[in-house]
């Protein structure tokens, strides 16, 4: 389980997170909603260990481990996965090489045997089929020339291969049409189960029609200002963030 207490963080000297308290029990999917600039992406980067996001106070533990003290690759090996809002293009790095290197690096870090090229390809093809991804996306450079939807599907493919126990989906719905949104949501829902939890970060309620969360939290001004069941998302959609803020 992910447990965040009193987390504060700043970027370039500006405080963005002002005391986050949040618990995501194992097996649950929680949504974080909030307007632009509320600190949603900052929270995802702080949890995954991006440089330039400085934690100034509070704690974050994952299954009892202090993740804030770990390198990004150690967090990944511990089971944390961040689906990027803007996946990076890596010209010259083949997607297949990238995926296999990542998978084997994590397996190695966990003391498991590495997959050879054939074993990997079999597994990747299987997962790609489920995501309706054309096979040539394995041969291309990582995200190079991919459409917005393809990039997001590539993120979900990585998640499906790496099998994290906690996934943070940072505005995965942005730039997706409804068909791609359904594919992405199916990919996430397929992972759901007792060993998987997720933090779904989104601006809009739309994604939560397809990935129905156990809990919804509203993040505003660097704090969780309201938490509730799935209906909270619909309430927000109807009334807007301003009403929540006024009530909070």
């Amino acid at each position: 389980m992910l447990k965040i207490e009193g987390l504060t963080a700043e970027v370039e000297g500006k405080q963005i997170l002002k005391g986050i308290d949040l618990e995501v029990p194992t097996g649950e999917v929680h949504a974080i909603m909030g307007p632009n600039g509320s600190g949603k992406s900052t929270l995802s980067y702080v949890l995954s260990g991006r440089e330039g996001y400085e934690v100034t106070g509070g704690t974050a533990t994952f299954n009892g481990q202090d993740i804030l003290a770990m390198e990004p690759e150690e967090r990944a090996a511990a089971g944390l996965f961040l689906a990027f809002q803007y996946p990076v293009e890596l010209p010259g790095v083949g997607n297949a090489t990238f995926l296999r290197t990542a998978l084997n690096a994590q397996r190695k870090a966990r003391g498991e045997s590495e997959l050879d090229a054939m074993q990997f390809l079999k597994l990747a093809r299987e997962r790609m089929k489920a995501l309706a991804m054309p096979e040539d996306m394995l041969k291309r450079g990582v995200n190079v020339g991919f459409s917005g939807g393809e990039k997001k599907r590539n993120e979900i493919l990585q998640m499906a291969l790496l099998k994290p126990s906690l996934a943070i989906l940072d505005e995965t719905d942005s730039g997706l049409d409804i068909d791609a949104l359904k594919i992405v949501a199916d990919g996430v829902n397929a992972m759901r189960g007792p060993g998987f939890s997720a933090l779904v970060i989104t601006h809009y309620q739309r994604l939560l029609d397809y990935i129905v969360p156990d809990r919804v939290h509203v993040l505003m001004g660097g704090r969780i200002v309201k938490s509730g069941g799935p209906d909270l998302a619909k309430e927000l959609e109807a009334q807007g963030y301003a009403a929540v803020q006024a009530a909070a």
Partner: protein, 430 residues
């Protein structure tokens, strides 16, 4: 013997005076005249200093202050050759053609050592090189002993040929100045894969004169992989006629100092020239790519993409000049130079230079310099890839991208191996 004490230009001039009656072609007046003329120019200019504009970023003082002898004794016997890339190969040891190590049987064109075939070189030798303005070409002309002579008749597809240069360490500083002459007749084709290896305190100063006739196509891949004690200063002169193509791809990775200087002229409509390469340097090394491209006819295209990777305290240089003559309308020129700096002590100097005298042209250039991209690095690490491995993947990607445009599979594989060899060694020492 007192010549051993003489250094730099004076040493080479003294050696020329002593050797001139014994150098290949010493009884041929046309060649004697060329050498004598070159000696006059070299005496007047000596080695270029950093006050010379084209040498502003590359200091030849270590060469000018050293005393190099000629490799006077012939190295014979068995020599370890690099893994072959082609069936046909011309092998040179210390700049001298070695028929016993070469494999040139069954070729449909003239291919062999220049020294044994000097009559065939008359008219080709000295046709393009400019000893009056380029001292290294003058030094080469003055003292060359041998080189590759290739003459491919009209319409002949020469296939794949390898040029191998090996320098064998004689235990004292030595220099050699091979002169390579390559002519492709109208519609002829050739892929030339060149490998330079060698060790010892050595100056390797080759000059190429390359003529590509109408509709002919030469692909020239170069792997300059001598050891870190070697100075490699090469100058290529190429002229490309209407509809002809010259593709040069150079991997410079190894010597203490590498200067890869290319002068190409597009002299007929629809001629094309692609000059690409990857140059790498680590602690104490210096790599310099200097190109000069003359668009002297309309409807010609040129492409240049150079990548530089610098580690440790090293220095890289890229100077690229494109001269579009008044007649060269519809010129399509592009130049890109990208440098990746792996250390804060590394330095890159980049100087693009466009001189355009025609009014209907498309000419662009760009340059990027930087460290590894932080976003890319984080993306890889967030997937569980350790930092050092993630960095290596990005460097490899940067280098491999450089060879993506090479269409010949054999050549691309050879170039990729050369890049990987350097990077594997670099990773180990880093």
């Amino acid at each position: 013997m007192t010549t051993a004490a003489q250094t730099g230009a004076a040493g080479f001039l003294a050696r020329y005076e002593g050797l001139k009656d014994h150098l290949p072609g010493a009884r041929k007046p046309w060649l004697n005249a060329l050498r004598a003329d070159a000696a006059v120019h070299f005496a007047a200019r000596g080695f270029p200093t950093r006050r010379v504009e084209q040498w502003k970023y590359t200091d030849l003082a270590p060469v000018a202050q050293a005393s190099f002898a000629e490799p006077l004794t012939m190295v014979d016997g068995a020599i370890a050759l690099p893994v072959p890339n082609a069936k046909h190969r011309a092998v040179f040891v210390d700049g001298r053609f070695r028929p016993d190590l070469s494999a040139l049987e069954g070729l449909a064109f003239r291919a062999g050592g220049l020294a044994q075939d000097l009559n065939a070189a008359e008219g080709l030798l000295g046709a393009l090189a400019k000893p009056a303005t380029e001292p290294l070409a003058a030094l080469n002309t003055m003292l060359f002993e041998d080189g590759l002579l290739l003459d491919i008749p009209d319409g002949v597809d020469g296939g794949l040929l390898e040029l191998v240069s090996i320098a064998v360490d004689p235990g004292r500083p030595f220099a050699f100045h091979p002169r390579h002459l390559i002519r492709l007749g109208a519609g002829a084709r050739l892929t030339l894969i060149e490998t330079a290896t060698g060790r010892g305190q050595c100056l390797h100063n080759p000059v190429f004169e390359i003529t590509v006739a109408e509709g002919a196509s030469l692909t020239h891949g170069r792997m300059l992989q001598e050891e870190v004690t070697v100075f490699h200063l090469s100058t290529i002169y190429a002229t490309i006629a209407a509809g002809g193509t010259y593709d040069n791809f150079t991997v410079a990775a190894g010597p203490r100092l590498t200067r890869n200087e290319i002068h190409a002229a597009l002299t007929g409509p629809r001629a094309a020239c692609h000059m690409n390469g990857a140059q790498m340097a680590a602690d104490g090394q210096h790599v310099d790519t200097t190109t000069s491209l003359d668009h002297a006819a309309p409807d010609c295209a040129s492409r240049q993409t150079y990548k530089t990777v610098l580690a440790g305290r090293s220095r890289g240089v890229f100077q690229g000049k494109i001269h579009v003559h008044r007649v060269a309308q519809k010129t399509d020129g592009y130049q890109m130079n990208q440098a990746l700096l792996l250390s804060e002590e590394a330095e890159i100097d980049s100087k693009p230079q466009l001189e355009i005298y025609a009014d209907d042209v498309k000419c662009s250039h760009g340059a990027t310099v930087g460290a590894l991209d932080a976003d890319s690095l984080f993306y890889l690490r967030s997937r569980g890839i350790p930092e050092s491995q993630a960095k290596a993947m990005l460097v490899e990607a940067f280098l491999h991208e450089a060879v993506e445009t090479v269409t010949d599979d054999t050549l691309r594989a050879a170039l990729t191996r050369a890049l990987d060899t350097w990077w594997a060694r670099q990773r180990k020492t880093a």
